[in-house]
């Protein structure tokens, strides 16, 4: 586990300082849309509703962001964001319940304590950032190199990869290392930029 890094001031700083414009909206959406979607799906909402809720949550966060008190030690941005998203989801379920007049269970999100929230939020954040980093760097490598890396992601041993691809094992090591370095680097960059 990494330490929870206090959310650094980059994208957030612009947003919190009322520097909201089209550009930051785009960047904000880019950075948080899928993440919010993942959080909502994590509360057992189906894809269709989750999509709607993602939009409303994004807007909700966008509106409230100036009131987010930016002091990294006190409230982590992602914990704060998680709470907003969770409230939207709870609202949504309550509304649905009165409409259909039937009981859908409110996700246990309501009872989550802060450390639990933190853990869920962090897990999704890692998945989101890592995957985005992966997409970003993919284009920088040849297909062959990426194939080796993908196979190793699937848990294949170097020997197996060598057998499948006909590439020498030593070369596979080098390929894997190269992609891994680039990936880690990109993860750091994205995490810095969007946190």
């Amino acid at each position: 586990m990494t330490d929870f890094q206090p959310t650094r001031v980059t994208l957030l700083q612009r947003l919190c300082n009322d520097e909201k414009d089209d550009l930051s909206w785009e960047e904000f959406t880019d950075a948080y849309k899928r993440y919010i979607y993942l959080l909502i799906r994590g509360m057992h909402i189906d894809h269709h509703d989750a999509e709607d809720l993602t939009q409303t949550s994004l807007l909700g966060v966008w509106e409230k962001i100036s009131s987010f008190d930016y002091s990294p030690e006190e409230c982590k941005f992602r914990t704060w964001l998680y709470r907003i998203v969770r409230n939207k989801v709870i609202d949504h379920i309550r509304k649905a319940n009165t409409k259909k007049n039937k009981k859908v269970e409110i996700p246990d999100a309501e009872t989550h304590s802060d450390p639990e929230i933190y853990n869920i939020a962090e897990k999704e954040w890692r998945a989101h950032i890592s995957d985005r980093a992966y997409s970003n760097i993919k284009g920088n490598f040849s297909e062959k190199v990426m194939q080796c890396f993908d196979l190793s992601l699937e848990g294949k041993s170097t020997a197996e990869i060598a057998a499948t691809t006909g590439i020498a094992e030593a070369t596979i090591y080098v390929y894997k290392q190269r992609v891994k370095d680039a990936l880690c680097h990109e993860i750091r960059v994205l995490n810095d930029k969007w946190s």
Partner: protein
């Protein structure tokens, strides 16, 4: 956007931890086995060999202690015990232990600060220092031992060989190989169930642990006794003996007779070797080396106080100061710290001063006045008490000073950390300044951030952008090259512009047009155009040139057909009012302007501003403040009037605009 935008491959998540922070941990793990370069032996004691080596992880030179009997599990145990005890003691006069473990050859080791100096043993044997200097050293040894005792640790092997003195007089107590906690029983038999072997004073083969001469009688005796701080106090006394005589107590005896003599307290008097030795110091030494524990000092602190008193010329508790002795001391003090004492005596007992003056004139008279002296001394006792207190305060403040110095050292370390922590703040401020188009301020703040933390994310990119809008392309290129986030567009732009405008410091109107065309070609965002238009680098343009530039920019970026500035004004105001900055325009109509920045209104010419429908209050107010000749502001009905309550300029609604 399609549904795929939500898909993700969770297999990659594992790299997150590795990417963040854990990289360093990995490095440390890897380098652990190879952490220390091969060293060379610089010294050797009975137990350990000391090498000097380099810690590749921290880059510093360290001393590495290795066990000589490397295959002995019992000694290995004690070796690590020593490292532990020593590491638990944090004191300026105790050698700091850094690290311990098994090295790559599988040998137990610990590392500590490399001490380049000499041992007290050599220092005294080579007669390099005065007794006064050595007493200073001795006081520091007492400090260290007193601290260790306060932590419940007794050293048990204090001797000049185990005291290191650095080039600048730093004193460090080493070799905690026999150290143990207070109150351990000592015995000869390993079979004693409640004792661990390694605290026994004598090993099975009959070798005494500790060194004859420095060993306390209770350590040398065969009876099972509780070992207490008193044993260290005895050894300290023996060190003092060595300082005064240049010889260890019982130096010339064989082991057996030295034990017998230790037990009997049969130590050659100091006066035999050094007839000039101070009576006070001799008394202190004798008291510390008393055979019976109850006759010794009861604490190192007590011993140290006597030394301090000696250093300041007061009778020590070890001396039986008769009236005449007190008088001698009085005179001695009078010589040593005449002025100080005089002041005290003037204040507290001027009669005694008179008496003292008499005394120095006529010794005989003084003798006759002995009775008077006793009386005076009695009287003086009170004032002396006060002086004494002042003295101990002085000593205490010395200690405080030392502690303050140590704290200062800690603070500089913390300051380094703090400076790293401060970097993000400068970065934040730099970005903020740049957001407000304060180019030079931003540049300075970003430079500061980078100086504090050269790899801080995005600082180089921002610096590049500031430099780019200042037309300092050469430097911008360097910044972009340092930026790790691979913003290739900026870098490519800078490379291309360099070939087209070789000397941007002398840029003319035509050059600015070239720059704008390239901005278009690279599809830079509006924010970049703002950064350029509001840059001080464009201050050379005249009002007319600014108007031309507005027209040209509208053409380049919006594709409007070029015509006269005044004719184009309405479309420019709606689509790209930023280019109206410094065009001498009196009325800004920003009602249809979708962006929320209003920086372009700044200037002396501006008289009327119709603000956009949506504004951000604080920066807009600043922009308004930068228009000294403003006469009128119009706002939309959705804007709160409250924002403007401190303005002198009248604020009206859109609907009040005269047709």
């Amino acid at each position: 956007m399609d549904d795929n935008e939500y898909k993700l491959n969770r297999n990659v998540s594992d790299f997150f931890d590795e990417a963040l922070g854990l990289g360093l941990a990995e490095d440390i793990k890897l380098s652990q086995s190879d952490r220390y370069l091969p060293g060379k032996e610089i010294a050797r004691g009975g137990m350990k060999s000391i090498e000097s080596t380099v810690d590749t992880l921290t880059g510093r030179e360290v001393a590495k202690a290795l066990l000589i009997a490397k295959d002995d599990p019992e000694k290995t145990e004690r070796f690590f015990h020593e490292a532990r005890i020593c590491a638990s003691l944090e004191h300026p006069n105790i050698v700091p232990v850094y690290d311990t473990g098994f090295d790559k050859n599988g040998l137990p080791f610990f590392t500590m600060r490399l001490l380049g100096g000499q041992t007290l043993q050599k220092k005294v044997k080579n007669a390099q220092s005065s007794v006064a200097d050595l007493i200073d050293v001795f006081v520091k040894i007492c400090d260290a031992v007193s601290y260790a005792h306060s932590q419940g640790i007794i050293h048990r092997d204090l001797k000049p060989d185990n005291i290191q003195i650095g080039g600048f007089g730093e004193v460090q107590v080493c070799d905690w190989g026999l150290a143990c906690s207070h109150g351990f029983k000592t015995a000869h038999s390993i079979h004693e169930s409640d004792t661990k072997e390694y605290i026994l004073p004598v090993t099975l083969d009959g070798m005494i642990k500790g060194t004859p001469g420095y060993l306390a009688p209770e350590q040398a005796s065969s009876e099972k006794q509780e070992l207490t701080a008193a044993a260290d106090i005895y050894s300290l006394g023996a060190i003092l003996y060595f300082i005064l005589t240049g010889k260890a107590p019982l130096e010339d005896c064989d082991t057996l007779s030295s034990i017998q003599k230790t037990l009997a307290g049969d130590i050659t008097p100091i006066k035999v070797f050094n007839p000039d030795a101070s009576h006070s110091l001799t008394a202190i030494c004798n008291k510390a080396m008393a055979v019976e524990i109850q006759d010794r000092y009861q604490s190192v602190e007590e011993l140290k106080n006597d030394l301090l008193k000696y250093q300041h010329g007061f009778p020590t508790s070890a001396e039986e100061a008769g009236a005449w002795g007190a008088l001698k001391l009085l005179i001695k003090r009078n010589q040593r710290i005449a002025s100080l004492i005089l002041v005290f005596f003037l204040v507290f007992n001027s009669a005694l001063v008179l008496f003292l003056l008499n005394l120095s004139e006529k010794e005989k008279e003084a003798r006759r006045a002995e009775a008077l002296a006793i009386e005076a001394a009695d009287q003086a006792r009170d004032s002396e008490q006060a002086t004494l207190e002042a003295m101990s305060m002085l000593a205490a403040s010395e200690k405080q000073t030392r502690e303050t110095l140590e704290n200062l050292q800690k603070m500089t370390d913390e300051k380094k950390l703090a400076s790293q922590k401060a970097a993000p703040r400068f970065l934040r401020e730099g970005k903020m300044s740049f957001n407000h188009f304060e180019h030079y301020k931003a540049l300075e703040q970003l430079n500061q951030a980078i100086e504090l933390h050269p790899n801080i994310a995005t600082a180089h990119e921002y610096k590049g952008r500031v430099l780019m809008s200042l037309l300092r392309y050469q430097e911008a290129e360097i910044s972009y090259l340092r930026d790790k986030s691979t913003r290739n567009t900026f870098l490519n732009f800078v490379k291309e512009i360099k070939t087209q405008i070789p000397d941007p410091a002398k840029a003319n109107y035509q050059d600015i047009l070239t720059i704008l065309s390239l901005y278009k070609k690279y599809s830079f965002a509006t924010i970049q155009i703002e950064e350029l238009f509001y840059s001080p680098a464009l201050d050379f343009l005249s009002t007319e040139q600014r108007q031309d530039l507005a027209v040209d920019a509208a053409h380049i970026f919006q594709g409007f057909k070029k015509s006269e500035f005044n004719k184009m004004l309405p479309v420019i105001s709606n689509s790209m009012p930023l280019v109206l900055y410094k065009t001498g325009l009196k009325t800004f109509d920003l009602r249809k302007h979708r962006k929320i920045k209003t920086y372009m209104i700044r200037g002396h010419a501006t008289e009327v501003v119709m603000l956009p429908k949506v504004i951000i209050p604080s920066p807009t107010l600043e922009d308004i403040d930068a228009c000294p000749n403003l006469k009128q502001i119009y706002i939309s009905s959705s804007t709160e009037l409250d924002f403007f309550k401190n303005l002198k300029v009248p604020v009206l609604n859109y609907k009040d605009i005269p047709q």
